[in-house]
Structure formats: C-alpha cells, structure tokens
C-alpha cells in the first residue's frame, strides 16, 4: 500500500515537473509552430469523427429521456434547454476528453514509451535537446488549441441529435424551431464558457498524463502496453474526478 501511494505521488510530482519544464521552453514556441500544427491536426482528425457520433447519440438520448419524463408535466418546451445545457456544461467536454484519452492519449503514450524503451529519449538527452521541448510542449499547446473547437462542434452535433429526436419521435413532437428557441432563450454564455474551460483543463490533463506515462516507462516492449493502459485509465479517472471539482468551483 505504501509503495502504491509512493508511486502515485511520484507520478503526480513528475507530471507537474514535466509541465513546468515544457512551459519553461515556451519562449521557443515559435520554433515549433509546425509541430504544434501537426499535432493539432492529428488530435483533431483522430478525435472528431468518434466524438461527433457519440455526441450526436448522447444529445438524441438526452432528448428522448427528458421527453419521456417532461411530457407528463406538459414541459416539453424545456427539452431544448435541458439537452443544450447538459451538452455545453457537462457531456460535450467530458465526451471529447474521453475520446481524446482513448484515441490520441493512448497513441502518444505508446509513441513516447517506445522512444524511451528504444533509447531515443536518451539520444535526445545526449544531444542536449530537452524532450520536454521537442515532444511534450507541442502536444500540450496543440491540445489547448484543438479542445475548444472539438467541444463546440461536439455540442452543436449533440444539440442537432436532440432536435432530430424531438421532431421525429411521435410522443415528443417538438418542432426544431421550438427546440432551438428553448436553447436560445435559456442557455447562458456562462454555460458555454464553463464547458470550454473544462475542455481546456481536461485536454491539458489528458495530454500531460499521456506524455508523462510514456516518458516514465522503464523496461522492455511489454511495459509499452502496460503504459498505454495506465495512461488511458488514469486519464479517464482524472477527467471524471476533475469534472466534479471544476463544476463546483465554477458554480
């Protein structure tokens, strides 16, 4: 138990140190613009298709479930805001972060872990090229740029999924105009910005965990697989726990 706690604290400490070292290279960021663009593009196109499909069905499911309940109270006009606020404040950023951890975080961990195991990181260190600047900073900056875009797209697609269900399911029967009017009337700018703040925090944490787990890998090829699993599980845990605390702080 003591060993496990030590490991967790060591992991946390090394993640903080890694972020610190990466951002210490921030003045050299203009030199890595190409890498930032490459990682941003990769993070975007890897995450967007699955995140879009998931957000669509989550929006649809929210509309369906709320429709089932709200029709008994004659409050179907509120389905729009319920779906809209839930997607913007919670489900949009959380779902995008989960897909980011599964698709991009796992790939980043695997790449960095294999670089560590096959001594490529050692080679960088002997060249006095900090891996934090070359490998970590571009990924962190890229994910900070991409997350708000992905979250907004996810939100819009989720709302769209809810609108389709409201229009097509007979016992709900809310027209798209009324549905979007409800979102427009009741959704506040703060709902959107809170969601975007969450998205930024989640994206940063997922990428930091992915990079840190990869760079801390020791041993042989078998450890690369373990590192990937550890990275994804830790990321999902961190996203869900942080979600509660960020909601509480922003509320």
């Amino acid at each position: 138990m003591k060993k496990r706690i030590n490991e967790i604290l060591e992991g946390f400490g090394s993640a903080v140190t890694l972020a610190w070292r990466a951002f210490a290279s921030l003045p050299k960021a203009p030199r890595i613009l190409k890498r930032i663009a490459e990682h941003g593009y990769y993070s975007g196109y890897s995450t967007l298709p699955i995140a879009a499909i998931l957000c669509f069905f989550i929006g649809a499911e929210l509309a369906l479930q709320s429709g089932l309940t709200l029709r008994h109270f004659g409050a179907k006009e509120f389905i729009g805001i319920l779906v809209g606020a839930s997607m913007a404040r919670e489900l949009g950023p959380v779902m995008v972060a989960i897909i980011l951890a599964g698709r991009v975080g796992s790939a980043v961990t695997a790449e960095l872990a294999s670089m560590k195991v096959y001594q490529e990181i050692d080679a960088l260190e002997t060249m006095n090229i900090p891996p934090e600047r070359l490998l970590v900073l571009p990924r962190l900056l890229a994910v900070l740029l991409v997350m708000p875009v992905l979250t907004i797209i996810g939100n819009l697609i989720g709302w769209f999924g809810g609108a389709i269900v409201c229009a097509q399911v007979s016992f709900i029967g809310v027209e798209p105009e009324a549905y979007f009017q409800s979102i427009k009337r009741y959704l506040e700018v703060k709902d959107i910005t809170d969601g975007l703040i969450k998205a930024e925090v989640f994206g940063f944490v997922v990428m930091l965990i992915a990079c840190n787990t990869g760079l801390r890998t020791r041993g042989g090829p078998r450890e690369i697989g373990f590192a990937v699993t550890k990275s994804v599980v830790t990321s999902l845990f961190a996203v869900l726990v942080l979600n509660y605390f960020i909601t509480k702080i922003l509320a």
Partner: protein, 275 residues
C-alpha cells in the same frame, strides 16, 4: 587504415565550429548502485585528448552503466565524471562541450528519415544555416558511404546500416568526444571490421577523443590506444593492447583467450542437468 582514409573525401570544415578540440575525460572513484544492487565500485581512470580508450569486460560487468555515467544520462551514486573539467549531468555546462553517443541499437528516431535523423541536432541547436546543415549531413552520409539511405526510414535499414547511420548522426554533432556502446554487436565479422576501421579513421580525421565499450576482443585490441578491463564492476587493469596480451592476470587471460574445455566442471554440471 591509410587506405580507408584515402577513400574518404576531404571534409569541408569551413563552416564547422572552430572551438572543437578533443575532450579530456576524468572518472574519479565512481560507484553506481540501483537500490540494493551495486553495479560499479570505485572506478577511476582518465582519457587523454584524441585517445581511443576501450572499456572491455564480460556481459553484466557494468560497461554500459559506466558509459551512461560518462554520457551524463545518469548521475553516479558516488564519485565524479568530468569532461574538460565539466559535469556532463549538468544541462548548463553540457552546452560547453560536444558529446555524441552511438547507442548499441542505434537509437535512431523511427518516425524520421535518415536525413532528418542526422539534421535534427543542428536544426534544433540552430548551429548552422539550412544549406550548411544540408552540406554537413550529406558529408557525414558520404563518409559512411550511406548516401543512398538518406530518404529511407530506420525500419528499412539492416543492422549494419543502422550502426553507420548512428555514427553519421554522431559526426554531424561535430563531437569532441564520441562514445560507442557495443558498436560491433550483432554484426557479421566483415561489417565489424568496417565499423572498427571507421572508428579509427574518424579519430584521425576529426580529432576526437573516443571511448568504446565492447566485449569484442578483436575490436578492442585492434583500434585502442589503451584498454580497461572491467570485471564485476571494478577496473581490473588499464593497459595498452600489447601489454594486456602479456598480462599474467588469469581473469584477463581467461577473457582474452577463452578456452572451451568440455571437461570443465560447468559443462559436467550442464550435462548432468540435461540427463
């Protein structure tokens, strides 16, 4: 060696840094432990500028660990390593000398082509302009006779080619000190001889200090100015190859001239286990 020198083109040094002089390495009372496991014990030696110093010993004797301490990849548990009087572990002083390590498996960046692997260091360090970097990389490829591999990925190369690319990458760094970790492991005898020739030639052409870690007896006794025998984490002897051959130390003789004696008790034991 002279023939090898003749076939290499004369390097164009016009844009190379002028402050390059071979490094002096000093290892003083170095010990290294990983938790309860002690790997190196009180290791001391000095390597003079332009010397080819080989650390030889059986597998598990701590050669590669010693090389990692010299390269500054790990800090010693006790004792010191200095290169030109500076600590290789300190990232601030690390910029004051150029050190290149040729890893056993090459440690080439698999996502980059051979050309990009070689150009990474000068591009990142902003030492030269892009045309100069191109000239530097192409010259290194030419010296190692691997120009045709420039556009290939490391995964498309053979073991011998990877070693050559790793050496070429070291050359592009214009090093004052080159460290080689098992440069001839997993290579056929012909390729091993070629790598040995390259190591010797580079020392002549580029005036670098060279430290080689190997258990290849032929390589060590052919190219080295001095050879250190590392046995169970301790330096057993440091001698020129000729003196080492004459050594009366049974451990050194056993390592340099291993005899396969099927009557040896260890073979008897194996036989008994097999039955």
């Amino acid at each position: 060696m002279t023939a090898a020198l003749a076939k290499f083109p004369k390097p164009d040094l016009r844009f190379m840094r002028e402050d390059r002089s071979p490094a002096k390495v000093e290892v003083v009372a170095l010990s290294k432990s990983y938790g309860p496991q002690h790997v190196l014990f009180d290791v001391s030696f000095a390597v003079a500028p332009r010397e080819i110093f080989t650390i030889m010993g059986p597998s598990g004797s701590g050669k590669s660990v010693l090389l990692r301490q010299i390269a500054g990849l790990e800090a010693p548990t006790r004792g010191t390593v200095t290169i030109n009087g500076l600590n290789p572990c300190d990232p601030v002083t690390r910029d004051r000398f150029a050190l290149a390590l040729v890893f056993q498996a090459g440690a080439l960046f698999n996502s980059l082509t051979v050309y990009e692997n070689l150009a990474l260091y000068p591009l990142e360090r902003r030492i030269h302009s892009k045309p100069e970097i191109r000239a530097l990389v192409m010259r290194a490829l030419q010296i190692l006779s691997i120009e045709d591999a420039a556009r290939k990925l490391p995964s498309e190369l053979s073991g011998g080619m990877k070693k050559r690319v790793a050496i070429a990458r070291a050359l592009v760094m214009e090093p004052q000190l080159i460290l080689y970790d098992e440069p001839t492991s997993e290579l056929d005898p012909v390729m091993s001889a070629t790598i040995a020739e390259i190591i010797g030639t580079l020392k002549e052409q580029f005036t670098v200090t060279t430290i080689v870690v190997t258990h290849d007896r032929e390589l060590a006794l052919t190219i080295s100015d001095r050879v250190a025998i590392l046995h169970e984490g301790r330096i057993r002897a440091i001698e020129p190859p000729a003196a080492l051959r004459q050594s009366a130390d049974p451990v050194i003789q056993d390592f340099l001239n291993p005899k396969i004696d099927i009557q040896h008790p260890r073979f008897k034991k194996l036989e008994a286990n097999h039955e």
